[in-house]
């Protein structure tokens, strides 16, 4: 990648590469990762960029995903802006650490470039980690802020957004994206280079962090997720839940496409939203008034807006690259007002616009 430029540069690159560039430009302090297809370009790009020579960002290829996520836990515990990336099986391995990051009320970013599962599965694109990402994943009652990019541009943009939200709420954020967005090349405008925070700025912004400055601070900071007194542990949980309620109230993000006059609705995220848009164009040409709601935050989920739209439309199609996962949240939002139908492929197969259109037509016929 020859571009080293400043604000407004348009470059052509893969989604995974955009993640790496955006992280350096955000002023990220550290990346810890382990190779796995289809996201290894994140680590490869960072190693090639050598940001330790420019911004001072630490980049380390760890011995496993287990080590990576615990390095992220550590960096976050010291108030640094750190992240990791992996793909489905690697993210499964990280779940214990993600639960610790949530329980430690620590800001961190995790990128999951999804491939088809379960098990070692395939290396081809999938959205089958929706449940894992949005319903917890690891043990205990916690949530991640889950951002779902649909383009290389959003891959770049959501790195900064993810870090900002993670630090705002002191909770881990995840970029959940199918392998297609990670692997495809598109033009992207990279964000301008920001300086990394100085250590003094980290201390000021994160007075809770275990930076090693107990003496300077006058008290020691301890980052722990252990609390043997269940009454205190319940209070901790209540505090976590209050944070999640604030996130639900303030951070729901979605995009609508041709919903103004829609009689039918599709709800899709990531690559499936773009494929659904292509199907919508064809359907509109045939006189079918169909629109799209694309959740940008999968958690918090746009229940309210889908609930409103379910009063306007006759039925909802939920195209997903899985066996039907987000459809459960769509059904919760619609409260049985209209039929909600799944359409999708599994195991790394990407549905075509015509398959989505066929599913839409069958929904309309049944209705």
């Amino acid at each position: 990648m020859s571009n080293n430029g400043t604000k407004g540069d348009v470059v052509l690159m893969k989604g995974n590469e955009a993640i790496a560039h955006a992280a350096v430009r955000y002023g990220c302090d550290g990346y810890f990762g382990y190779p796995i297809t289809p996201q290894s370009e994140v680590l490869e790009t960072l190693e090639a960029l050598m940001p330790w020579e420019t911004t001072g960002m630490v980049v380390l290829q760890a011995e496993s995903e287990l080590a990576s996520i615990n390095m992220v836990y550590a960096g976050a515990a010291t108030g640094k802006a750190v992240f990791t990336s992996s793909s489905s099986p690697g993210i499964s391995l990280m779940q214990e650490g993600i639960s610790y990051i949530a329980a430690g009320e620590l800001p961190a970013l995790i990128v999951n470039v999804m491939r088809g599962g379960p098990g070692l599965g395939t290396i081809h694109p999938s959205q089958s980690d929706y449940f894992q990402a949005t319903k917890g994943g690891g043990h205990g009652d916690y949530h991640l802020i889950v951002l779902a990019p649909k383009s290389v541009q959003e891959m770049a943009d959501f790195v900064g957004l993810g870090f900002d939200l993670a630090f705002k709420y002191r909770t881990p954020a995840m970029i959940l994206v199918d392998g297609m967005v990670g692997q495809m090349m598109e033009k992207v405008v990279l964000p301008p280079q920001r300086p990394r925070r100085t250590d003094e700025e980290v201390l000021e912004q994160c007075p809770w962090a275990a930076t090693g400055d107990a003496d300077k601070r006058g008290r020691n900071n301890i980052i722990t997720t252990l609390e043997l007194d269940s009454h205190v542990m319940e209070k901790n949980n209540e505090r976590f839940q209050e944070t999640y309620r604030r996130i639900e109230a303030n951070e729901v993000r979605y995009e609508e496409y041709m919903t103004d006059d829609a009689e039918w609705l599709m709800v899709a995220f990531g690559s499936m939203a773009r494929i659904s848009q292509a199907a919508i164009h064809t359907a509109r040409e045939a006189g079918i008034k169909v629109g799209l709601l694309r959740p940008i935050t999968l958690w918090p989920f746009p229940y309210e807006r889908i609930s409103e739209l379910s009063r306007q439309v006759k039925g909802i199609l939920v195209p997903e690259m899985n066996a039907g996962q987000m459809i459960e949240d769509v059904r919760l939002a619609t409260e049985g007002r209209v039929p909600v139908k799944h359409c999708g492929r599994m195991g790394g197969i990407i549905p075509s616009p015509s398959e989505v259109l066929t599913a839409l037509n069958s929904l309309i016929e049944v209705k």
Binding site: V58, L66, Y73, A74, G75, D215, I223
Partner: protein
């Protein structure tokens, strides 16, 4: 008679280290952890490392609450992951003292991978490894360092190598890695051993600050509760049995002579 009548400045010959918090320790009487905690607190104070800045990494095991006792910043790691946690902290805050404090379950069983790889990368951290050959916190189960024939709750008839494998001298492996600069095995069963252990911890911390690579200080320690012995008997048993399998002394010392 109260405390003030006994403890007067003129007759006080020893006191709690400045960095050892005045909290009631949860360790069993006779356990070696309290002694090593005291040494760590003394060394940090004597070297002025609390002023420079120190981040300690707590394990899962008996020392899980180490953060309640030593007055520096702490991060509680998931079971076995302390060296990965320390790696990131030291790389992100290279001027600070960063050390892990781990037991034989944490370091030589579930955390072998992280410990070996951190040491092999030559991370500028110190690893304090308390080896008492048993899982104390969970009630005395076999650990990788449990001696052959030793009775634990999961080897009630004694450890059999045909069933459970051999006792793991993991510190010997650390000594073979190019990333380590100082690997030593010490004990805390008597005053002389305690003094040697303190010197070893001091050397390890200095190496960490000097950027010489990874230092590993194994401390062969007593678990009289887990071993089901009196504190006195466990000290004798440590010398007779533990030190036979885990002999004391430096396994590697690339520390420059001062």
């Amino acid at each position: 008679m109260n405390r003030e009548d006994i403890v007067k400045p003129e007759n006080k010959v020893v006191s709690r280290p400045r960095l050892l918090n005045d909290n009631v320790m949860h360790y069993c009487p006779g356990c070696g952890h309290g002694v090593v905690h005291k040494l760590v607190a003394e060394v940090i104070d004597e070297m002025g490392l609390d002023k420079t800045g120190a981040v300690a990494i707590a394990p899962v095991g008996c020392a899980v609450f180490a953060y309640n006792y030593i007055d520096v910043d702490w991060i509680e790691a998931a079971h076995g992951r302390a060296p990965a946690v320390a790696t990131a902290v030291k790389r992100l805050w290279p001027k600070k003292l960063v050390f892990t404090y781990q037991g034989d379950g944490d370091l030589s069983a579930i955390g072998t991978g992280e410990a070996i790889h951190a040491a092999n990368r030559g991370e500028n951290i110190a690893i304090i490894f308390i080896n008492n050959g048993i899982y104390g916190m969970t009630g005395g189960q076999m650990s990788p360092t449990t001696l052959e024939g030793m009775k634990t709750s999961t080897t009630p008839y004694g450890r059999r190598v045909d069933l459970n494998g051999y006792p793991l001298a993991i510190t010997d492996i650390f000594a073979q890695l190019d990333g380590t600069c100082y690997v030593t095995r010490q004990a805390v069963n008597d005053a002389a051993a305690v003094r040697k252990t303190k010197n070893a911890i001091k050397k390890a911390f200095q190496n960490s600050m000097d950027g010489l690579g990874t230092s590993v200080v194994e401390v062969v320690s007593q678990c009289n509760s887990g071993w089901k012995m009196s504190p006195v008997k466990s000290n004798e048993w440590l010398v007779e049995h533990m030190e036979a399998k885990y002999p004391l002394g430096d396994l590697k010392n690339n520390t420059p002579k001062k």
